[in-house]
Symmetry: C2
Subunit: 219 residues, 2 copies
Amino acid sequence: MATLASIKNNCRKVICIGRNYADHVKELNNQRPKQPFFFLKPPSSILLPSEGSVLRPKGVNLHFEIELGLVIGKTVRDLNENDEWQSAIEQYVLAIDMTGRNVQEEAKKKGLPWSIAKGYDTFLPLSGPISREKITDPHGIELYLKVNGEVKQEDNTELMLFRIPRQLSDISKVMTLEKGDIILTGTPKGVGPVVTGDVMEAGIRIGGKEVEEAKMRVE
Amino acid sequence: MATLASIKNNCRKVICIGRNYADHVKELNNQRPKQPFFFLKPPSSILLPSEGSVLRPKGVNLHFEIELGLVIGKTVRDLNENDEWQSAIEQYVLAIDMTGRNVQEEAKKKGLPWSIAKGYDTFLPLSGPISREKITDPHGIELYLKVNGEVKQEDNTELMLFRIPRQLSDISKVMTLEKGDIILTGTPKGVGPVVTGDVMEAGIRIGGKEVEEAKMRVE
Ligand SMILES: [Mg+2]
Ligand SMILES: [Mg+2]
Ligand SMILES: [Mg+2]
């Protein structure tokens, strides 16, 4: 299994699905998408557990979004939704899609790209790698995120509006997926702000049981 | 000097400056930006001269944008506009920022990211690498692009609204630049559609003289 450092080194693009949980769409007053849409974060935004804290740029309202991440294991192009898709995934990671919410809202209003709001250094903390054997059904796991001990996000991936094969299909019809690419599958409801000094703890539970590799603690 | 194949292999992000020539801002009825903004194209969109044609996805109004590209040679973080910046650039490339204009216009209207409009496979044709010795002043070269022999774009990089040190500064304060990253510095006026079968020819002139390495021909 690839180490986390090699995941960072080998990553050439991070593709993030937007608005993939109905209650999260509502909480930000967004339109529910008719098809998956996605955006890119740069690999330079990845923050490994050993690399310290998320940095809040001056004037930025920093929001957390807990998401299940897929690490791609091979070249994938034009996948169909009903094709075998499991073998495209080499392993999983838990990820926090840190977002400059005020920067994003201004971009949305002006019709500008989201890349700055999503792309600052340290805006993509990752957990340790999680093997496919641990996550036999990625559509049936619970993601959670706490801030200073208080639960903020806690939902099951069964609530995804577009499931992983549909995501892989739609993305790979636009851009070829390459070994090492990371896909973030969207965030459930409960996103909110953090400030310097806050501690985010996040993880995955399967059938109520904590997955040790997925445990994250980020300041 | 790095070969073009190694430029593609080593590229981990492509950062594109938007609206950086006044007449191009006007032709698309856009607002002139108060500061540089930028978006990402995935490395998977790079098309080398040996790799065939730009592919127009079904239903997409495909536009060309000729741009001077910078290939980054070292890690750059928090550069100031007045710092020495030339050494950050390892070499230059000429690039066409292919854009799904209707996809982008719809994204702009809905406040959605530009990543799909900009990120399809083959949407980033590159010329051969051009050494720094050839381009002693990147703010004083002429870019041109012809379609089927007819000149569509032809302007000098002296018209950039934000010059390269400002671009490097603004980008590197958001995301760390890494060796191999590519920056597209914006397109002059004259962008327009191409259809399957059209031939784009592009190049750079310095003092009226063609730079051989920059010559491109893409179908
Ligand atoms: Mg997200
Ligand atoms: Mg974008
Ligand atoms: Mg452009």
